[in-house]
Symmetry: C2
Subunit: 403 residues, 2 copies
């Protein structure tokens, strides 16, 4: 089978850890697998180079930043290749250019346009282990080195796995998989064996340190079997993120996600004239503010109340936009002492009563739900932030996710 | 005019020093010059990467070493370009590949085969300052990155200056030029304004820390006007190394070189049979031992004496070869307490009495000359090492080089 293995900065952060990665690669090789490895820069290196650049400029030239930052991954790829060669394995490093990763020319945040697999396929056929410098490619227009932005090495791995039709794309970090919820909140949280792309995207906060949505979306699009696992405990299998059809026993609920970075905005006593809600949300969308949950309720005296949430990071921008609508409302209230708790599971599609179980679980704890929104595979609820941990624990219990 | 400026590891060793290089480049730019800069890795970086590689292997794969080591120069080129861009100068970094430096595929010691100047010329015509990552190129056969070995960044600069027909190729180090002799031995030694390629090659020891013979030879071949100067005292002009025709007033003696790393080998009482000397020196040549000076003198009883010198580093190899000739000689004597003092000057060609002045200068100090060899522009003498400094000082005085 063909495996693409990706090791992040922490996994290759020291010479000893690169040695450890060598052992992981060797194990698969000795099983007879074909292997393409994608590596990040050693942890700390990229930040060091950014600091160097900022010594000269607060807004360094982006083409040059790509020349600068792409060097870190090249170093790691050569070191891992040297380590494998020394132990008798034929390995070869490849820069993004050599690996055929063609991108747009948006320097520092280029998008992969195409992958020319000839070089890699030839090397695989020659029996080599290929070590690709992640995070980088070459622009199809100016032919200079580009970088792919945050999470870029994961994208390199997923895109290569897609182009090579690899059987697996394993993303190694210092976390051994995706859990039913954050184990710091619920110590008995359980590692998931399998989860669908859509569930993973909805549970983003559970994978925040492990997988970026950008990579999961690409894996879904290219139909890549993604595995989240740890290079520090390679004996543990990790979590497979795959398409729903590949998951035989579909759990009703797969996991509980918590997002504390939400602000709830309440507009009370809005004169109920047609189009008012639409004009507010159009204005917010124009300002590129990502409105998440929306509830409209009827007030007294022909007025209406609007409740919606935005990411905390957009609060300043939002207040600016909302200033234009001050006269339309009796009162606009901003509350950041709230959080969003989400229950996610593909099984919800075919099961009823999932939501009511959640509501009673929270009611039992006297937790008031401020806003509710549901989708095919998710129920999200806004509650006061002080109840965050309690809400997650009681929902985890209610759906018996520890089993 | 078109200037190629090369800055070595010490000149770009810290962020502040790169800033200092920015100022030097700006000054020439503001004069209206076209500029191609060649940079080394920040001092210490290359050694750090070699140590990293040696953590995994004593004989790391050479292709991978090139991938690894070429990253240091890329970093410096991007940083200098960022610094220049920030100050409003249009600059662009180029890897060896982008600069069109095509090499053989002898990884870690590749030779430049050809330079495709289109990229650089286009950028010059666009009004850009070009910052080339030195020490590296790309193999014409396997298309991988290669490095040029010791002194590789100097070679990059000289080869580019030749290919671009630059007016000057300035090599910046922490030394401000070539002196009539080592100023640590003779404090009144004088910096030379001009010197010919051939003199420079003969005075190698005086330029040892500044210019490698490989670069001077290439400059001679490509007719590149080479300047040795310091990035720490850019106001000082440095020494121009150029072809003899460009030097109007040809000094009889330009400089005095001292080489302590010589061993004198004496074979005494060699039976004088035909071909014996020839077979000894053929054997030494076959072992790639660089025999420097040779003197044969007639001994007593139909025997002959052979005296010759080799570099100290070849002593072990030489002893091995000489073991085969033990029976041909009464006695073989190895003496490393000697040194070679050389007087170099193109004016010797047309002046007589140069050698006799040297001999009397040493005789006046009771310094015995063991071996003498002369060429068109050089007189070399082997003397006891204890007289090294005295010999250099008395010769420097005899030819009035301080004037």
């Amino acid at each position: 089978m063909l495996r693409v293995l990706k090791f992040g900065g922490t996994s290759v952060g020291t010479l000893e850890r690169i040695q450890n990665v060598t052992e992981i690669v060797k194990k698969f090789r000795n099983q007879g697998d074909d292997i393409v490895v994608v590596v990040s820069a050693m942890s700390g290196e990229t930040n060091k180079l950014i600091e160097y650049a900022n010594h000269y400029s607060k807004t360094p030239n982006e083409k040059e930043m790509d020349m600068l930052l792409s060097s870190g991954e090249r170093v790691t790829s050569a070191l891992l290749s040297i380590s494998l060669n020394e132990q008798g394995f034929e390995a070869t490093s490849m820069s993004g250019r050599e690996a055929g990763i063609l991108t747009t020319s948006e320097h520092t945040s280029a998008r992969i346009e195409n992958i020319q697999t000839k070089n890699i396929k030839d090397a695989i056929n020659d029996g080599k282990i290929i070590i690709v410098a992640g995070f980088q490619g070459v622009s199809t227009t100016n032919h200079r080195v580009t970088t792919l932005g945050r999470g870029g090495s994961d994208l390199t791995a997923v895109a290569l796995a897609g182009a090579l039709k690899a059987d697996l794309c394993e993303i190694y970090t210092d976390v051994d998989g995706i859990y039913t919820t954050d184990p710091r909140l619920v110590p008995k949280a359980k590692k998931l064996e399998k989860i669908s792309y859509d569930e993973m995207l909805e549970l983003a906060s559970l994978g925040a340190k492990v997988l970026q949505n950008r990579s999961v979306e690409m894996a879904k699009k290219l139909n890549v079997n993604l595995v989240s696992r740890s290079s520090f405990t390679p004996e543990i299998e990790g979590t497979l993120i795959t398409k729903e059809e590949n998951i035989m026993e579909k759990p009703i609920v797969s996991g509980i996600a918590l997002d504390r970075n939400q602000v709830r905005i309440g507009m009370y006593g809005v004169i109920d004239k047609p189009g008012i809600a639409s004009s507010i949300f159009t204005a917010l969308a124009d300002a590129k503010i990502n409105v998440d949950m929306i509830v409209q309720t009827v007030g007294t005296n022909n007025t209406t109340n609007l409740d919606f949430t935005i990411p905390s990071s957009d609060l300043k921008k939002t207040k600016k936009v909302m200033a234009d609508f001050k006269s339309d409302s009796k009162n606009i209230d901003y509350n950041d002492a709230i959080c969003k708790v989400s229950i996610v599971g593909v099984g919800m599609k075919s099961h009823t009563g999932v939501a009511s179980k959640a509501f009673s679980a929270l009611a039992n704890e006297n937790i008031n739900i401020r806003i509710i929104s549901t989708s095919e595979i998710k129920i999200s609820m806004i509650v006061d932030e002080k109840y965050a941990e309690l809400a997650v624990r009681s929902l985890h219990d209610a759906y018996e996710l520890e089993k």
